[in-house]
Amino acid sequence: MPTKLITLPADNPAQAQALLTQTLKEDKVLLIVIGSTNIAVNTADRAARFTGAPDEPRWVVRAPQIADVIDILKAIQDPASLVIDWDDTLLIAVSITDVIRDMIDQDGTLPTLVRLQTAWMKAENNQ
């Protein structure tokens, strides 16, 4: 089964922005992973294993260059103010209605699979 992981281009801001915008517009439940560290890459891969069937709404996006897409990210609704500092954020969980419902920060450790499950569930719970 092909993985539902979108890696935004690292060297083409316009394309990265367009792709992220488009993906957000679609009816998807997203885990957006930020950065290019080993942890970021591994987290994106691990999260992608739980995206389910191709026609299910879960997808993973990894943004290797946060600077390119930071404006779009900042514009995503965050009513609970889960994101404190984008530079310290490893992953956000975005619901199907484009609201941030969970955040995992960068603390030097790889999030456990259980933690990722919780992120997926919080995104789906959408509240």
Partner: protein
């Protein structure tokens, strides 16, 4: 002269209540029945005695002396089991709802509806996760299950949570069984044979092996259930017994054809066999008789292998979704049949392996001359390959079935000791 037994009833109480909750009747050889009402009775040695114990009367009689701690522990247990039951039902329902939606085709479902279904399912999952957020075992098991997870749907991930919850329920139920066993009243009954001026104790099965002295006082930390609590437990037990495990079955049953398909690396074994046979055929040797013998046996093994692959193909068809029925009862049968088929395949492989071993040891490789060592080596490696694949097959099949039924691999030796119902320690006994 008739021999008599002195029947002495020692009762777990300072009250002489035996007349109220113990009913003894004697039926003698001629079938005549009489009630035994005195504390000390002589009865005919050839009679049968029936001892009827009225549990309700006992529980009521001793109701005032229920240990308060014990009661609280039982209530907590009851509350927890009821909670687990609620969560189990909720998540199962939402998994099914999402499944129904999915079967409609998610692309055609409107976002608001999809959002609701996702939300309901996720909320149920999060509730369970929250319940066990401080439970190390639960979270370790969850991490384990997730690390083994590959492919599948989001529902499959939620089913993992269901399985883990059912594991927790099993653990509690064991706890419950223990507590129920402790809840009860114990009797000691003793008998002596008198004759010729002697008194000899007579062993009564199940009645005289309690440690002496126990019947003179309650153990205050024992737990006594009221009938209502007992009924509630029984209700929960039968709910959990009847839990629809078919949803756990689906994935493993779908995996069976794949498992069978992959068990034997048919192509590589076939290739090796073909190569072997052609090496033997092309062997330049003067020992023609020996060569013919080897060739024949090798061909026989090759035919055996072809039969095996045909049987596996038949099994694959048998277990593919088209051929299967869908209710829980036949799913259990299906798994049992599957195990039987797996064992059949395994023993066919075993036979091939043995034939190869026999062939290698019977062939006079010296006579056949040069070029023959590589043939011998090839046979040996084929043999070990088959042996490995046979044991892999059984191991993976067993594991798969255990996961399907129990949600985890189990210690099968321990499983053999488990009882399926509630046993009260008091029941009807008869002795003679």
């Amino acid at each position: 002269m008739k021999k008599h037994l002195f029947l002495i009833i020692l009762i777990l109480s300072v009250h002489a209540l035996h007349g109220q909750f113990l009913t003894l009747t004697e039926s003698d050889e001629s079938g005549k029945i009489r009630a035994l009402n005195d504390r000390r009775q002589t009865i005919d040695i050839n009679s049968k005695i029936n001892i009827d114990i009225d549990r309700e009367k006992i529980t009521n009689a001793f109701g005032q002396q229920l240990a308060h701690d014990g009661n609280a522990a039982i209530d907590t247990l009851l509350k927890t089991l009821n909670l687990y039951k609620t969560y189990l039902e909720k998540l199962s329902k939402e998994i099914q709802n999402y499944q129904d939606l999915y079967n409609e085709g998610l692309a055609s479902v409107d976002v608001a509806r999809l959002d609701l279904a996702l939300k309901a399912r996720a909320a149920a999952g999060l509730d369970i996760a929250e319940l066990f957020s401080n439970n190390e075992r639960f979270n370790q098991r969850w991490e384990e299950e997730l690390s083994r997870f590959s492919g599948g749907t989001t529902n499959d991930q939620y089913r993992i949570i269901l399985r883990l919850l059912s594991e927790e329920i099993e653990l509690l139920r064991t706890d419950l069984q223990t507590k129920l066993k402790e809840a009860g009243v114990y009797f000691q009954l003793a008998a002596w044979f008198t004759g010729n001026g002697n008194t000899t104790p007579v062993h009564l099965d199940g009645f005289d092996d309690l440690p002496p002295g126990e019947y003179y006082h309650f153990e205050r930390n024992k737990l006594y259930l009221t009938q209502q609590q007992l009924d509630e437990f029984k209700g929960l037990q039968s709910f959990f017994e009847g839990m629809d495990r078919s949803q756990f079955f689906d994935k493993i049953i779908d995996a069976i054809p794949g498992m069978l398909n992959n068990v034997i690396n048919e192509d590589s074994i076939q290739t090796q066999l073909d190569r072997l046979i052609s090496s033997i055929t092309n062997l330049n040797t003067t020992a023609q008789a020996e060569k013919t013998k080897v060739l024949e046996q090798a061909k026989k093994i090759a035919d055996g292998f072809k039969l095996l692959t045909l049987d596996i193909k038949k099994d694959v068809t048998k277990y593919s979704s088209g051929a299967r029925s869908s209710n829980t009862g036949s799913k259990t049968d299906l798994l049992q049949n599957f195990m039987a088929d797996v064992n059949q395949v395994k023993s066919q492989i075993q036979t091939l392996e043995d034939e190869m071993k026999a062939l290698v040891s019977s062939v006079d490789f010296q006579t056949l001359g040069a070029g023959v060592n590589s043939i011998k080596t090839d046979f040996n490696s084929l043999q070990s390959l088959l042996k490995r694949q046979a044991s892999d097959l059984v191991e993976r099949a067993t594991e798969g079935i255990q996961i399907a039924i129990y949600g985890r691999k189990i210690n099968t030796a321990a499983l053999g000791d488990q009882q399926s119902g509630i046993e009260t320690p008091i029941g009807q006994h008869s002795c003679q």
